[in-house]
């Protein structure tokens, strides 16, 4: 399994043709207390860069973009009852949705963990 990162602070785990997407620990820290996550419906298809989800913190709503193109095959139902999972475990149990990847070549431009850490340090 490989993990990729975007400059929009999303992480993507790719296993076969399925990509699990979430927001990074840095992103949840910036957003603050998360009180609601609006997830896409299963079966929705996204082009890379489409609005895919919305994270509501106490203060504001933030869009989450589809980091790669694909079809939503599963969403994290646990976030419905416990949106704060994104704060407590952003990069594991706080995942958002799983995509069936339509164009694996889109992963090529993304960062690995070391590059993302460097990117965050530069902000």
């Amino acid at each position: 399994m490989s993990r990729y990162f975007t400059d929009e602070h999303e992480w993507i785990d790719v296993e076969g043709e399925i990509a699990t997407v979430g927001i990074t620990d840095y992103a949840q820290e910036q957003l603050g207390d998360i009180v609601f996550v609006e997830l896409p419906a299963e079966g929705t298809t996204f082009e890379k860069g489409d609005d895919a989800a919305v994270v509501e913190s106490v203060k504001a709503a933030s869009d989450v973009y589809a980091p790669i193109s694909g079809e939503v095959v599963e969403t994290n139902g646990a976030l419905e009852d416990e949106p704060a999972l994104v704060n407590s475990d952003a990069e594991e149990d706080g995942w958002f949705f799983k995509l069936r990847v339509t164009d694996a070549s889109e992963l090529e431009g993304l960062m690995n963990e070391a590059a993302y850490k460097k990117f965050v340090a530069s902000l």
Partner: protein, 383 residues
């Protein structure tokens, strides 16, 4: 583009200023944001935790961005009664009132606190006023225009303003200054702490008991340190200040109150005492009287939101598919444990329990007009 627009544009481009406690906030790990022209702390450990702390203990807020003004001179009461719809002549020394500045059409230019000074505070001035930070320079300009020459207004930009709020605020402040224990809601006094003069009122904007403390800027960090050393007190950011005041049903200027809305519609008629309504003689009186007789076109209301999806400022409100208003403040309410909002709706849809719908990202969320405050006030009133 008019000249005024040019000035507004230039003001927006000005770099953010630092307040007296800037270094103090940063040293305590605050996340700073631009607000009202200043760098201000939005949060320290997190809005939910800070909000909860204030409801259970006591929180220290830096509100030094707000404008602190004094007024003195012959005819100061008469002059202020022309500017403000509230009873100033009947305001006793050490007492405070909520009031507002109205324009000729009765639109709200700002909301504010006004007190009569005493004990020689602020060089023996007569009246003390606290106005909003984002509007203070406009307020000052407006008041200069409408005050007679005999009345002297002083903008005290060398004073910091701290708010200590929460059920343990009383015991916390009394441990530094025992005499503050006698103050009741909307009462003020001049106190001395380590040789520093402090003008303290028992008031605030969270719905909790608490104080607002005007302190010379060069002593602000010393006082903030002394307060935050107490076990009851933690520093609290602007984020929690906003969620606390929303739960308390208190309007925020620039959002819930603007020049486009009126006092009666805003449900702030309590700030206009009987004598002032009858006698008039203040800017905006005609609108107040007309709306008292005929009702306002729209009203500020509380909104209970079904489900967990927060509704935000700007979201349109519908009744039976027809647009009847707009959300002016909204978010997740930590103490309520659900999203709540404040908004303006047309009069026929403003009664408590009216079922409405609010549009969020193309979806309609069910909402109900709800009484405010959402969380009961716990002010310390006279026994």
């Amino acid at each position: 583009m008019s000249g005024n627009d040019d000035i507004a544009h230039i003001e927006e481009e000005l770099p953010l200023q630092d307040l007296p406690l800037d270094t103090w906030h940063r040293a305590r790990g605050a996340r700073m944001v631009g607000f009202a022209g200043y760098h201000m702390p939005i949060q320290y450990e997190g809005i939910m935790a800070e909000h909860g702390w204030v409801r259970e203990h006591a929180g220290l807020f830096d509100v030094s961005h707000m404008g602190q003004l004094t007024f003195s001179g012959d005819g100061v009461d008469e002059a202020l009664e022309y500017l403000l719809p509230s009873d100033i002549k009947g305001l006793k020394p050490f007492r405070q009132r909520y009031s507002m500045l109205l324009d000729e059409e009765g639109g709200i230019l700002d909301d504010l606190m006004v007190s009569r000074l005493g004990a020689g505070a602020f060089d023996g001035a007569d009246i003390y006023m606290v106005v909003n930070g984002a509007t203070k320079y406009d307020d000052i300009g407006w008041m200069i225009e409408h005050l007679p020459d005999e009345v002297v207004m002083n903008h005290m930009d060398e004073q910091a303003l701290l708010a200590l709020q929460g059920p343990e605020a009383g015991e916390a402040l009394a441990s530094l200054i025992p005499e503050t224990g006698d103050l009741v809601f909307m009462q003020s006094g001049l106190f001395t702490w380590r040789g520093v003069p402090l003008w303290i009122s028992r008031s605030g904007y969270t719905g909790e008991d608490g104080f607002e403390i005007s302190v010379p800027a060069d002593s602000a960090a010393l006082l903030a340190d002394a307060l935050c050393t107490l076990p009851q007190v933690k520093p609290i950011g602007l984020g929690a200040r906003d969620s606390l005041r929303l739960e308390a049903g208190l309007p925020l200027y620039g959002h819930d109150l603007t020049p486009a809305v009126s006092t009666i519609g805003a449900d702030l008629g309590f700030a206009i005492q009987k004598r002032r309504r009858e006698e008039g003689g203040f800017i905006g009186h005609a609108r107040v009287m007309k709306e008292l007789a005929d009702g306002p076109g729209s009203k500020r209301v509380g909104l209970k939101i079904e489900g967990r999806l927060p509704v935000r400022e700007g979201a349109p409100i519908f009744a039976d598919g027809i647009r009847v208003g707009e959300v002016t403040s909204g978010g997740f309410a930590p103490t309520v444990g659900a999203p709540i909002a404040m908004g303006w709706v047309s009069l026929p849809h403003s009664a408590i329990d009216t079922a409405l719908e609010i549009e969020v990202r193309g979806k309609r969320v069910a909402a109900t007009v709800a009484p405010m405050p959402f969380v009961p006030h716990r002010y310390r009133r006279k026994a």
